[in-house]
Symmetry: C2
Subunit: 110 residues, 2 copies
DNA sequence: CGAATATACCTAAAATTCTTAGGCATGAAA
DNA sequence: TTTCATGCCTAAGAATTTTAGGTATATTCG
C-alpha cells in the first residue's frame, strides 16, 4: 500500500514536456529535474522511469544517443518528429484531466 | 493502449471528496456525478468504481447501506469516521501532486 | 588509502489499478 | 415488446508502478 500512486498515468506526458523544454536529457537527469521542480514532492523511481523511456522510444516518440561524459556513459533522449507532434495533444489532454479533477475537489462556492 | 489512464491514483480521493460534499451516494450516482462535473471529460467505468468502493469499505474508509428505491436496490455509501479523518489529508496530497505537475507542464516564463 | 556516497544505467517479480467485456435484474420509454 | 436507462456485480487481461535487486565509475570524506 503505497501512496505515491498519484503519479500514475502522467509520467509519459511529463517526459515529453521536459524534453520539449530542454532539448535533450538523460534518465538520471529527468529524475532529478522532476524531484526538484516539485519541491521534493514527486519522486520518480528508476524502475518506473527507465521502462517508460524504453517504451516511448520503441513507440517512436523518442530517440536516444549514448554519450560518454567524464568516464560514465549517459543515454541522452530527445523528441523524435513524431514525439514533437504528440507533445501538444498529450499536454492538452493532461490539462483537461487536471481541470476536471479541480472541478470536483475545489471547495464549491454554493 | 488506452488513454483514459490519466485517472490512475486519484479515484479514491475523488470518492472521498464527493461523499464529504454530498453526505451519501450510490455507485451509479458517483459515476454520473463525475461525468457531469467534468463536462463529460472523465468517464469512470463501473469496473473501476465498484472494486474501488469495495476496497475502501474493506479498509474502513466507507460504510454502506442497502436501500430499495422504487423497485431497485441501491447501495448507499458514506464516510466512516476514519474516512472523514482521511479525506483532508488525501485532498492535500492530491492538491500538492497537481501543483507539482502544473509546475512542470506550465509554459515557463523565462 | 579506503569507504561511503553520488552518478548512471538496467531488470524482474510482485502489487496495484484500470479496461474490457461480460452477467443479472427492474423500470420506463419507444 | 424490445430497447434503453438504472443499478449492482465479477473476472481476465493490460498497463503502470513499487520494490528490490544488479553493475560500474567518479567523487568525497575520514
Amino acid at each position: 500500500m503505497k501512496d505515491n500512486s498519484l503519479l500514475k498515468g502522467a509520467l509519459s506526458t511529463l517526459i515529453l514536456k521536459l524534453l520539449a523544454d530542454n532539448g535533450q536529457m538523460y534518465g538520471y537527469e529527468i529524475i532529478q529535474k522532476i524531484k526538484e521542480a516539485s519541491a521534493d514532492q514527486m519522486q520518480i523511481t528508476e524502475g518506473a522511469l527507465y521502462p517508460a523511456l524504453h517504451k516511448m522510444e520503441q513507440n517512436g516518440l523518442l530517440k536516444s544517443e549514448l554519450r560518454p561524459v567524464s568516464g560514465r556513459t549517459r543515454k541522452y533522449y530527445a523528441l523524435s518528429p513524431k514525439g514533437q507532434k504528440a507533445t501538444q495533444s498529450k499536454l492538452d489532454q493532461l490539462q483537461g484531466f487536471l481541470s476536471s479533477i479541480q472541478m470536483i475537489i475545489q471547495p464549491k462556492a454554493q
